[in-house]
């Protein structure tokens, strides 16, 4: 590489946009490969036991409104799964008649439809309300 | 085959005509090129500086409507302006806002003297102080607006923590405090610019003057007053003139922080012009206001120029 070419290539006005472009590309690739819209988690009662057949509601949130996007039920192990989350900011709430409801759990993602497996369970507070 | 036309063989006058004709054609080509090269810039300046200036003056004497056309009405707008309380308030506020020029320059003088001293890291300090100037004024306005917030703002928090006030102050909603608050934000943003101009002036002062004065036994204060200040005069007045211009035309900060409120207590001429033209749709009245604003600007700049000994562009030529 000649000296002049080296000076041009290492000029900060060339390096900076190239680095930015590279980061953008890598990030977009990552997003594309992980944006499947799947949200999984599980529901437990206040004793920590998994709750089967609880209704989980997913709501999409923006600055001013909350709108419902889907519901599903937990399976025998208390796990649930949403397939078509299109948002980056959702709220989940679990409910089972007789076992109470959980609080409204906000889930904020890095990009839309990010694949997320929630580690913290939704806890039903128990008791009919 | 050589025809044998040489200077010696051509009649003398014909040779001279040939040369001058050739030079003339070349000269004409050069003139054409000059004007072609000047044309784009001159068009832009004509369209967006000269023509608007003249059109403003014309509009200020007309009644103008986009639908009904124009009609000459003489001084009616100026009479309306004379009786308009908001105009006088905004004019007064603009004059107060102009204070940000000398105050800012004094502060910048202190800072630039410190930065100019032979200390480690002066470039870092210079960068930090200058950082606020190239920022988007809208964002700066939002940040300061929130720092002044009555309930959650930083300033109220610090003042209460320090015990200086008991109840939170509504900086941007109070009639007395709003203009100084906006002034402070403006000074924060423009300090770096003044500092750069003054630094350039400081660095143009030859060091041997100070050395000679030291040898002669002058104290540092004397050196400052007798050497630094006089040699900084062009830079100081350049900063002052530019400061006047930017203060009179400082729209973004007021629009974002207060919208001219509360009740026009922070209304500047330039924001009133914008409102009259684009919110009240009184383009002709806005033109009259603009004429007054421009006259104010020209007067103050002329005064500033005269006070500097005539040539505020001196720094530009030297630097």
């Amino acid at each position: 590489m000649t000296g002049r070419m080296r000076r041009i290539l290492l000029n900060r006005f060339v390096v900076a946009p190239v680095v930015v472009a590279a980061v953008v590309l890598v990030w977009n690739a990552y997003v594309a490969s992980h944006a499947d819209g799947i949200v999984t988690g599980h529901v437990v009662d206040r004793f920590g036991r998994p709750v089967a057949d609880a209704t989980v509601r997913m709501m999409e949130q923006n600055f001013t409104t909350n709108s419902q996007r889907g519901t599903t039920r937990t399976d025998a192990n208390g796990a649930f799964r949403f397939q078509e989350n299109r948002s980056h900011r959702i709220q989940l709430r679990a409910e089972k008649p007789g076992a109470g409801r959980s609080n409204q759990q906000a889930v904020r993602l890095y990009f839309r439809s990010q694949h997320v497996d929630l580690t913290e369970p939704l806890v039903l507070d128990g008791g009919a309300k | 085959m050589a025809i044998g036309l040489t200077r010696a063989t051509l009649p003398q006058t014909a040779a001279v005509d040939l040369r001058t004709y050739a030079r003339g054609a070349k000269r004409r080509r050069e003139l054409l090129l000059v004007w072609v090269f000047l044309l784009p810039s001159l068009t832009v300046f004509f369209l967006y500086r000269i023509l608007p200036l003249l059109w403003n003056v014309a509009l200020s004497f007309q009644q103008f409507s986009l639908f009904r056309g124009t009609r000459w009405i003489g001084l009616e707008h100026y009479v309306e302006m004379w009786q308009d309380d908001v105009f006088w308030t905004s004019l007064w506020n603009t004059l107060i806002f102009l204070l940000s020029a000398p105050v800012g320059i004094l502060l910048a003088l202190a800072v630039s003297l410190m930065v100019n001293a032979d200390i480690r890291g002066r470039n870092v300090y210079r960068t930090i102080v200058f950082l606020s100037y190239p920022l988007m004024t809208v964002a700066v306005g939002i940040i300061w607006r929130w720092m002044y917030d009555e309930k959650v703002g930083l300033f109220n928090f610090v003042l209460r923590k320090l015990g200086l006030i008991d109840a939170p102050l509504a900086f941007l909603q109070s009639f007395e405090l709003v203009l100084p608050s906006v002034l402070l934000a403006n000074i924060w943003q423009i300090l770096g610019f003044y500092m750069i101009v003054l630094l350039a002036g400081l660095q143009n002062i030859p060091q041997n003057l100070y050395e000679a004065a030291s040898i002669d036994g002058a104290s540092r204060w004397q050196q400052f007053v007798k050497i630094t200040l006089p040699m900084l005069r062009p830079a100081l007045f350049l900063a002052f003139v530019i400061g006047i211009m930017t203060s009179i035309t400082s729209f973004d900060l007021v629009y974002v922080m207060t919208q001219g409120g509360p009740s026009h207590s922070s209304e500047l001429l330039v924001t009133y012009i914008y409102k009259a033209a684009f919110e009240l749709s009184k383009l002709d009245y806005a033109a009259a206001l603009t004429v007054v604003q421009f006259l104010l600007l020209v007067t103050l700049t002329w005064i500033g120029n005269r006070m500097s000994g005539g040539d505020a562009g001196a720094v530009e030529r030297e630097g």
Binding site: F13, F63, H88, Y110 | E30, L31, L33, F37, L38, P40, S41, L42, V44, Y48, R49, I50, L51, P52, L53, N56, M114, D118, I119, V129, M136, V138, A139, I142, I143, W146, M147, D149, V152, L154, F157, W188, L191, G192, F193, I196, V197, Y210, E211, S214, R220, L238, I242, M245, T249, Y255, V256, Y274, F278, L283, A287, T290, L297, G313, E316, G319
Partner: protein, 281 residues
């Protein structure tokens, strides 16, 4: 403070350095405090709703930035700003260099043109908004990229920057080129511009900053939300959502970042451009 220490390089100025550092650090603190505060809030959302605020950030999370990216057409605003700025920069470099080149020759009327330009510097943009709006309307350029960029296509400050740079080129070079038969345009492009790279850099930086930060003109000219530039988008967001979300401050940071990055990379050109005449053209 009792015994002055000799300075490192100048034996004439003996005075202690640490008070200077203390004062400069205090000033730096005052200048940087707003940045820190807005950065902290954009990362934590603290002290928008809760008082008293905490000094250090707790629970930093980047999700307000995600909100800004998706809930606001930030990419669109960014694109608009970039297009307008690129238009302004290219036009500026081309037109200003041409005009300065023309001014570097002597021709009848040159003095008048220079006086005219200097007096145009006295006409700030804010005193032209009403007719500029009408003219842009008559040209049919309202709400368009060209209309947004057109008033900034040429600036007098930059013309004089080029002129100073061109005047510094030795006449012998230009005369030699003329004798070699180069056309004027070629002389400009092959000789004068390559020797004026710092003037070009200054022009690029100044044109970028003025068009990027320009708020009043887009406010007047833009009608659709899709054509808004970043400052306009930011101000509309403020008036829609006021102080209710940390996303406003994330928006601020995202808007300030390019300007700060560019400034830090190009400080010298910036400062040189500003000290050589420094009025908003």
């Amino acid at each position: 403070m009792n015994r002055p220490k000799p300075s490192r390089s100048d034996p004439m100025h003996r005075y202690p350095r640490w008070p200077l550092h203390v004062m400069l650090v205090a000033i730096s603190f005052a200048m940087l405090l707003p940045f820190y505060w807005v950065l902290k809030t954009s990362l934590t959302g603290e002290n928008i709703f809760v008082y008293p605020p905490s000094i250090l950030p707790h629970h930093a999370q980047p999700f307000y930035y995600v909100d800004v990216w998706y809930f606001i057409p930030f990419a669109r605003f960014l694109l608009n700003s970039v297009i307008v700025s690129v238009l302004a920069i290219v036009a500026n470099v081309v037109f200003n260099a041409m005009a300065a080149f023309a001014l570097s020759k002597s021709f009848p009327g040159r003095g008048w043109i220079i006086t005219l330009l200097l007096s145009c510097m006295m006409i700030p943009f804010q005193t032209t908004i009403v007719p500029a709006y009408l003219i842009t309307g008559k040209l049919g350029l309202l709400n368009s990229y060209l209309g947004l960029a057109l008033p900034t296509f040429s600036t007098i400050v930059c013309i004089f920057v080029y002129k100073a740079s061109f005047d510094a080129i030795p006449r012998s070079l230009i005369d030699a080129a003329r004798i070699d038969g180069l056309s004027e345009l070629r002389i400009l492009m092959r000789i004068m511009l390559p020797l004026s790279t710092s003037a070009i850099a200054t022009n690029v930086i100044l044109a970028f900053i003025w068009s990027w930060n320009n708020f009043l003109w887009p406010l007047i000219v833009v009608r659709d939300q899709a054509m808004q530039t970043l400052p306009l988008g930011l101000s509309r967001f403020l008036s829609d959502h006021e102080n209710t979300t940390g996303a406003l401050y994330a928006f601020c940071i995202m808007v300030l970042a390019p300007g700060i990055a560019l400034f830090l990379m190009a400080q010298k050109q910036f400062i040189r451009g500003l000290t050589s005449g420094a009025t908003k053209g």
